[in-house]
């Protein structure tokens, strides 16, 4: 059992600490807004399992189904939906003893990098409440950074676990596509996304990943594969133009090179010629899939529907018009556009070709190294609202994260410290099923980059 598990293991059992915990979460989260719903009562009444995660509270992004709990996806259209079943990944955590305590805020259906596209609430960055927590798993990242839970689940379609983890100074894992079942993860872009995890403890992350990763007969895209060994000695660093990165990010990136060498790694350089095509290809595929995945929300079987409509067609139109936010509508329209017959070759098919190209390019990279080091995002957590980053720039900035989604490869964002009061970090990418290498690299950096605690965070040791 990891240290953090030990600290948390009694909190939910002892009535005094349980009550104190609930109260403190309420107090702290009032100004952070990481949870959309929080309750220690299991709505199904099913007893918790026993295993390596005994008594460990877990927060779950609100696009992952937990039976009896809300499944809003941060959207008005699902504001009143309760999940009728539990996602396989969550079930596996529960079977290992973990206890779901709440559902976290997110950009609507995972579409955004700041949590500002949530229709149901505002989440701020625990390090600086004028800044965004990142997105789309911003609620999960903020909850972990604020110490409200030791572990949270997120989902990563184009960086949605790693970028908020990076903004909030915690670890964020995007596992290999197919390693963790997607059954129960509300689909945004099915071929790109995976359930990931956020935590401040690398041992706990490894344990949780080990619990969740397994072939699931309910997800035919899930794979049972042997993990490759953790042996990693040679890292290559992606060459990035200095002007792309903000100074603190560039500085953290350089310092990581030094820290790796200190830890005994050899560090080389690599450039990826097709990197500039990554974002257009990513958005083409993601929006195409989204246009189909979000078609099911029509107000008929569940979810928001208008008070009155003349006929079923009008009902669907009004439910979607009223229920979806602008970013979601924009991406559905884009996806519909790129899939039109006669235009597929120009967009969707071309994007798939780029995807193959990039996959091959990365296979070439990993033929001569164990790990690839990259920035996570060009900036630190940006300001909320108009003073922050415009939507277009946010999408372009997905370049370093969506690479792992297009290729299906695992990637981990690792905190490297605090600069100007805000976290910095880097990410490692490994060959498929190379998660152990990611954990090892992160562990090897802890001496150089000890984890920092956000101001005002809940200290579980303070509960008595």
């Amino acid at each position: 059992m990891s240290l953090i598990s030990e600290l948390w293991s009694g909190v939910l059992i002892e009535p005094g600490r349980r009550e104190q915990y609930t109260r403190l979460v309420g107090e702290i989260d009032e100004s952070i807004g990481s949870f959309l719903s929080f309750s220690l009562e299991n709505p199904t009444g099913k007893p918790a399992g026993k295993g390596p995660l005994n008594g460990l509270p877990v927060a779950v992004k609100d696009n992952i189904a937990v039976e009896g709990r809300p499944l809003t996806c941060g959207s008005h259209i699902l504001e009143n939906l309760k999940a009728p079943y539990t996602a396989t990944a969550v079930r596996r955590l529960e079977d290992a003893g973990a206890v779901v305590v709440g559902k976290t805020n997110m950009d609507e259906f995972g579409m955004g990098s700041s949590n500002e596209h949530s229709a149901l609430g505002t989440t701020v960055n625990p390090w600086n409440k004028d800044r965004v927590p990142g997105g789309s798993s911003g609620g999960s990242a903020a909850a972990v950074a604020a110490g409200l839970v030791p572990l949270a689940l997120g989902s990563d379609t184009g960086g949605s676990v790693r970028q908020p983890a990076n903004f909030c100074g915690v670890y964020g894992l995007k596992p290999t596509y197919g390693s963790i079942s997607r059954f129960g993860l509300t689909a945004y872009a099915s071929s790109l996304e995976v359930i990931g995890a956020l935590t401040r403890d690398i041992d706990l992350l490894e344990t949780a990943f080990g619990v969740m990763a397994a072939r699931d007969e309910k997800d035919q895209s899930s794979i049972s594969a042997d993990m490759i060994s953790e042996d990693a000695t040679h890292v290559v660093m992606l060459e990035v133009d200095d002007e792309i990165l903000d100074a603190p990010v560039a500085d953290a990136y350089k310092r990581t090179e030094g820290a790796l060498k200190e830890a005994g790694y050899s560090v080389g350089k690599v450039s990826l010629p097709s990197l500039e095509m990554v974002v257009p290809a990513y958005y083409t595929i993601a929006t195409a899939e989204a246009s189909a995945n979000l078609a099911r929300y029509n107000g008929i079987r569940y979810g928001h529907s208008p008070d009155f409509s003349e006929n079923p067609t009008e009902l669907m139109r009004m439910a979607r018009h009223e229920g979806f936010g602008d970013e979601v509508k924009l991406r559905i329209l884009l996806g519909t556009y790129v899939l039109r017959s006669g235009f597929q070759d120009q967009y969707y098919v071309k994007a798939q070709k780029i995807r193959t190209l990039i996959r091959n390019e990365l296979a070439g990279v990993f033929a001569s190294c164990d790990l690839l080091l990259m920035p996570v995002f060009p900036t630190q957590a940006f300001l909320m609202g108009d003073a922050g980053m415009d939507d277009y720039k946010q999408r372009v900035a997905d370049v370093f994260t969506c690479l792992a989604n297009l290729t299906g490869l695992p990637a981990l964002s690792v905190p490297t410290g605090i600069d100007g009061g805000l976290p910095t970090g880097v990410q490692f990418m490994a060959p498929a099923f190379g998660e152990k290498r990611l954990f090892k690299a992160a562990r090897d950096l802890t001496d150089s980059f000890p984890l920092q605690t956000a101001p005002g965070a809940l200290d579980i040791r303070s509960l008595s």
């Binding site: 099915s190 895209s221 099911r296």
Partner: protein, 480 residues
């Protein structure tokens, strides 16, 4: 000059059949007709967020079975796509279907098209997909039943090789028979387990395909015939008048016996097909293909030919026996027990058919089993009952649901074949009709038949016919 003489007509079909599987195409819900609305549903087939499709391999196997039986090139890799369009009864608002990698392509179906003769109709492809729910308009509300949502559907697309409504109707009946032979579907158009859309175009001879019109909403093979023939005339009139056809979809209005425009090409949905990311391509392994091979059966037309060649049935008998799977199975089982094929066929096509019609029963639901049928025939062959009594026994099998032997015993219907007993009956008949007997002796053989009838009547039909005749003849020649 009729439209058909003046123009080439091209008719192609898109036939959908519900596959007979226990569960739905992508979840474990029951695939069953007639249950309470919205009882066979789950988060997967209702399209709840986060759910994923799980391929029903049995449906895949039935799909391969049909493709293989239609002589298709079967796929060594088949994959699914999403076909996107909004419809209130479609839970995901896309249908999981197949497009570029269907189960089978380039097949041929041999069909007896009536006056069109036996022809090979080319099959373009065979592919799997899922059905939608059902929308019921009731007054000013619309109700939805999702029991049918996710039913496994197999779509069979033909090339435009048919020429008339009559041929098409005959083809559909052949096709229904085929799927029933294979046991993959009920093939009932009125129950909705089989649906058929048609496309039709006509053109001046030798000019190839004309402007295509799609026809929908034809709920029986007969309506398919009527709709197509209506369209042939409509197209011909337009071309005769120097006009040109519009590419469109039309609906058959069975109350008015006409087709009506539903939507034009430019209003048609753009289905925005793209690969289904939730289902990996299906690659059949050797065991799967072996199961498909093992399920292959003799096809209807081959069966019909063999019924004539091997069993000596008349074309009419063979047509009747092969038409219905239950009849065919009863025929084959009964013949296997040693009964004469022609006798079996004769009984099936006359007395048994009449009884079934009268009782409004299907063979499958009737009390007549192969064992009872062959026992009945055996009673006749062994001379224990006459053909006339046999008909009464058959009636009683239906009314009492019991075995022929026990009926005969209970009713005391065993044939009288004791010569002494028969001679007494014959004597009585001759004694009661001296003038007729005299006429027979004078050579009026017609009157002999009448006397035989009296013998049968006097014995309640139980007198063994051959032996009674012999005794009658002896008596008439000896008594002067």
């Amino acid at each position: 000059m009729s439209a058909h003489e003046k123009y080439d007509v091209f008719i192609g079909l898109e036939i959908h059949i519900h596959l007979k599987t226990v569960s739905k195409m992508f979840c474990s819900c029951r695939a069953h007709y007639g249950d309470e609305p919205n009882t066979n549903v789950c988060p997967v087939c209702l399209g709840y967020p986060g759910t994923l499709p799980l391929l029903n391999e049995r449906a895949m196997e039935l799909g391969y079975h049909v493709a293989r039986s239609l002589g298709c090139r079967i796929a060594d890799r088949t994959s699914f796509v999403r076909k996107n369009y909004f419809y209130p009864d479609m839970p995901k608002n896309y249908q999981i279907s197949q497009f570029e990698e269907p189960v089978g392509v380039e097949g041929l179906m041999e069909a007896d098209l009536g006056d069109g003769g036996v022809r090979n109709i080319r099959i373009h492809d065979v592919h799997l997909e899922e059905d939608a729910g059902k929308m019921i308009h009731a007054g000013d509300v619309t109700l939805l039943d999702f029991n049918r949502a996710g039913y496994p559907l197999l779509e069979i697309v033909t090339e435009p090789d048919l020429r008339t409504g009559e041929e098409t109707e005959a083809f559909l009946r052949d096709f229904q028979r085929l799927v029933r032979y294979l046991g993959v579907s009920d093939g009932n158009m009125d129950e909705g387990s089989m649906k058929c859309d048609a496309n039709i175009s006509i053109n001046h001879p030798g000019k190839g395909l004309g402007t295509k019109v799609e026809l929908k909403n034809m709920n029986s093979p007969r309506f398919v015939r009527l709709a197509l023939n209506h369209e042939v005339i409509r197209h011909a009139e337009i071309i005769d008048a120097g006009g040109s056809l519009i590419q469109e979809t039309r609906l058959w209005n069975e109350n008015r016996d006409i087709t009506e425009s539903m939507r034009r090409k430019e209003e048609a949905d753009d289905y925005r097909y793209f690969p289904e990311p939730d289902l990996p391509p299906f690659i059949p392994d050797d065991a799967f293909l072996a199961r498909v091979e093992a399920s292959m059966v003799e096809l209807p037309l081959d069966k019909k030919r063999r019924l004539q060649a091997e069993y000596g049935l008349s074309p009419e008998q063979a047509e009747f026996i092969h038409d219905d799977v239950a009849t065919l199975h009863l025929f084959e089982q009964t013949v296997r027990t040693g009964s004469s094929a022609r006798n079996v066929a004769a009984w099936l096509s006359s007395d048994i058919r009449k009884l079934l019609n009268r009782e409004n029963l299907s063979l499958a639901d009737s009390p007549l089993s192969a064992a009872r049928f062959s026992a009945l025939l055996k009673l006749i062959e062994e001379g224990r009952i006459s053909g006339k009594i046999a008909k009464k026994v058959l009636e009683n099998i239906f009314s009492e649901n019991s075995d022929p032997e026990s009926i005969v015993e209970k009713e005391g219907w065993s044939q009288i074949s004791n010569p002494v007993e028969l001679a007494l009956i014959v004597d009585k008949v001759i004694g009661a009709n001296p003038e007729v007997a005299a006429a027979v002796r004078d050579g009026d053989m017609k009157q002999r038949g009448w006397l035989m009838g009296q013998v049968m009547r006097a014995s309640d039909g139980k007198a063994a016919p051959e032996l009674s005749g012999k005794i009658l003849d002896e008596k008439l020649s000896t008594i002067v």
